[in-house]
């Protein structure tokens, strides 16, 4: 299997603040990577850096062998990086269909295929973005990233703040994407949701990789998960 993404010595942050330090990892084409960690350890910064909306201090980001670290976000998107941010940021004054078609690029992911993945979106295709529920907005945000026909899909906490029934629906869709061979990097605070269908996982701590293992291995070792992900408790006074 060929390598799709290689990140080397990547340090980045916001303004002058460095949030991630010297990160290095790789992702093979068709595989998916879970990025885990507590709040504030740099998960979102990593995703934001891959799409190009942070300050990069050093390191390179090779997408299919080509360094995209100096490219602006719109060129990265056209090179095949799709992004679903934590805030979703759907275009509220456009309809569902306009949200999708405004940015679509040619490829296997057509409008019809997105509607197949998320039938709710087809039902609400004429509704404005602002009329959607949180779950529908998340589906639209993922659908909008898919119609870019990305080679790599970045998902930042896709299930955050959603009702359990919607979370299940979304996870089923992500599982299907993983099965279809779409490369994904998924940031999540609740590892048990995504480890079952991702191939590999990294755990971040204070901007660096604290643990790196196959997802199945991490899932089978709850103590390792707890050690890295449980918030440090303050000692009683």
């Amino acid at each position: 299997m060929t390598e799709l993404l290689r990140v080397e010595s990547l340090s980045a942050g916001y303004g002058e603040a460095r949030v991630i330090q010297n990160l290095a990892f790789a992702l093979e084409d068709g595989r998916s990577l879970a990025v885990l960690g507590r709040n504030g350890v740099g998960k979102t910064t990593l995703i934001d850096t891959l799409i190009g909306v942070t300050t990069r201090f050093s390191g390179c980001i090779l997408l299919a062998g080509e360094d995209i670290a100096l490219l602006p976000p719109h060129v990265r998107a056209r090179c095949g990086v799709g992004w679903t941010p934590q805030e979703r940021n759907i275009f509220r004054s456009l309809t569902v269909e306009e949200n999708l078609t405004a940015v679509a690029l040619p490829g296997a992911w057509t409008l019809k295929r997105v509607y197949g993945l998320f039938p709710r979106l087809e039902e609400r295709r004429s509704n404005m973005g602002r009329q959607l529920s949180g779950g529908e907005q998340q589906m639209l945000a993922i659908g909008r990233a898919l119609v870019l026909n990305p080679r790599l899909l970045l998902l930042d906490e896709p299930t955050e703040g959603l009702a359990p029934i919607i979370v299940d629906e979304l996870l089923a869709a992500l599982r299907e994407l993983a099965r279809a061979g779409l490369s994904m990097i998924i940031v999540e605070q609740k590892p048990k949701k995504i480890l079952p269908f991702t191939d590999h996982a990294i755990v971040l701590d204070r901007g660096a990789i604290a643990h790196d293992a196959p997802s199945a291995e991490l899932l089978a070792d709850p103590s390792a998960l707890d050690a890295h992900l449980t918030a440090t408790k303050k000692a009683p006074r």
């Binding site: 799409i51 190009g52 909306v53 602006p72 976000p73 719109h74 060129v75 990265r76 998107a77 056209r78 090179c79 992004w83 941010p85 940021n89 275009f91 509220r92 004054s93 456009l94 269909e97 306009e98 999708l100 078609t101 405004a102 940015v103 679509a104 690029l105 040619p106 490829g107 057509t110 409008l111 019809k112 909008r144 990233a145 119609v147 870019l148 026909n149």
Partner: protein, 339 residues
Amino acid sequence: MRAAQPTATTRRLEAHLHRRARWRWPEIVFWVAALGAIVVLPSRAALINEILIAGLFALSLDLILGLTGIVSLGQAAFFGLGAYSAAILASKGFADPTLGLLFGAAIAAVLGLATAPLLLRGGDLTRLMVTLGVSLMLGELANRNGWLTGGADGLNFSMGKVLGLFPIGFTGQRNAALYSFAALFILFAVARRLAQSPFGLALAAIRENRLRAGALGIATSRRIVAIYTVSAAYAGAAGALLAETTQIVSLDLFDFHRSADVMLMLIIGGAGYLYGGIIGAAVFIVLRDVISAATPEYWEFWIGALLVVLVLIGRERIHDFAVRAASSLAPDAARGDAA
């Protein structure tokens, strides 16, 4: 990078935008009423002409503020430049109004293209100051180059006939209004087409979230430069129309109050749907005309009061109230409008 090719999705988008681009009957009524007003009220042709020109000027601001979310306090720079360009061209013997109109728009577009990169950095406050600064600079340049612009005395000139047939200006107020109407309608139709195109959708995406639009593959800077240039051309065309139909230009065309007034008109009429500027211009100028006749010292007071009411109550509520009132009076018509 992948090249764009027509796909099922793009064909679907085109069909969708084509449906959206169809003219609806309230729009047709709007334009017929505007044309009818010129024909039926020849004694008010000068006032109508002023509304049409101000409407075009406000439309130019709507293209950047309403469609794209780019604030500006410097539209007067393009308005004044367009007016002076047409006036200078006419004073040099090229008195054909349509030529002057195109020339004024083109020169303003060049300035828009040259200054658009200044808008790409910083936030709203930066943009307000940059656009205001450009406008002040242009005004001072016009003041200092009296050999070309007439300086503080302004510039008087004569215009030829439109298409060699219709005189405009003081001897042809109704022709002037018809000429402005034709220019406004054509430019409005172009703006409407632009708004209902993939380019227009991209502008809407930029207005909503520029960062996100960029991360979805939209070249935001290029599109902002493009729409700012188009907007400058529209403001230049409005300035050229004013110069041609009044046959005088003066330094007050670059004044800050022009930029502020046009912002006011757009806020009164509502930004982002293209008709707002024209409606706002009509409300603003008619109110100014009516109120200043009744209480000359207080007309700005009432305009200010209207602005406060609009902002506090919200245009949506007033619009909803009007729609409910219309549907209770004529349910069928209201349903047709909604469709």
